[in-house]
Symmetry: C2
Subunit: 123 residues, 2 copies
DNA sequence: TATTATATTTAGCCTATGCTAACATGTCAA
DNA sequence: TTGACATGTTAGCATAGGCTAAATATAATA
């Protein structure tokens, strides 16, 4: 079944953390998201079941190719929407918070339209 | 506690239907939202508990003042966001679908910025 | 190596919010 | 007035996704 906001947030977090440190562990995700370790543990199991997270390696969390594609997709929405809102005059913190929720609910079509619009304005 | 997406959708639906017909009943809401009658029945009880729906009158659903303020707030987000997306080149159906989800997640600050931007562009 | 500290998992609770099945209450027409 | 259809409610199930407490694993240090 399609990923919900929750799953997308976990993927995005693993992706972001993996760009900051060599190895990402469950506890890092828990700290970053302010969730309990059991919540993260279960979520990681679900992502594994969905084939978005690798099963093998010790305890390090590694996205599969499919997982990384999805994570990047969400993360792009995050950065583009944040920039958009800042361009509209919203303060950085609010812009990021809104982007972080909306990124899960905007369709491809609408997101593409938003991106095109931003390109045009930045020419 | 703050209203979730679900509660906001019920309020908005009651508001929209009340502009189309004299009396709105649970079954009208169920038909409109494609939800079962028990789901609507329970949701109406919760809205009443929250003071957003009047308790008295027979079976007609009437928003309280607080409920109407919230409903209008969401509905405005719906219409403004839909128009925004259409202006960006998104087809009407997709624009409305996206607006219908995003309306629950956009902050006041960001929504106001979006509105200001649209005013400017329509001058 | 043995002990302690850190990570992870298991078990099970809770809330929100959809559902069906079954029951209750109208309301209206024969 | 009564039977039938519409409407509403009660009871209880399911899923998603947080949580704590407690048990395991794993790692690091005395």
């Amino acid at each position: 079944m399609a990923l919900q906001e929750s799953g997308e947030m976990y993927l995005e977090t693993i992706y972001v953390l993996s760009q900051q440190k060599a190895a990402v562990r469950s506890v890092d995700v828990a700290d970053y998201m302010n969730f309990s370790k059991p919540s993260v543990s279960r979520a990681m199991g679900l992502l594994r079941d969905e084939g978005l997270l690798k099963k093998d390696t010790g305890n390090d969390l590694k996205l599969t190719e499919a997982g990384e594609i999805l994570a990047k997709r969400i993360y792009e929405r995050h950065t583009v929407l944040t920039t958009l809102f800042i361009n509209l005059g919203v303060d950085e913190e609010t812009a990021a918070e809104d982007a972080c929720r909306i990124e899960h609910y905007i369709s491809d079509k609408t997101f593409d339209a938003v991106k095109r619009h931003m390109m045009k304005c930045n020419k």
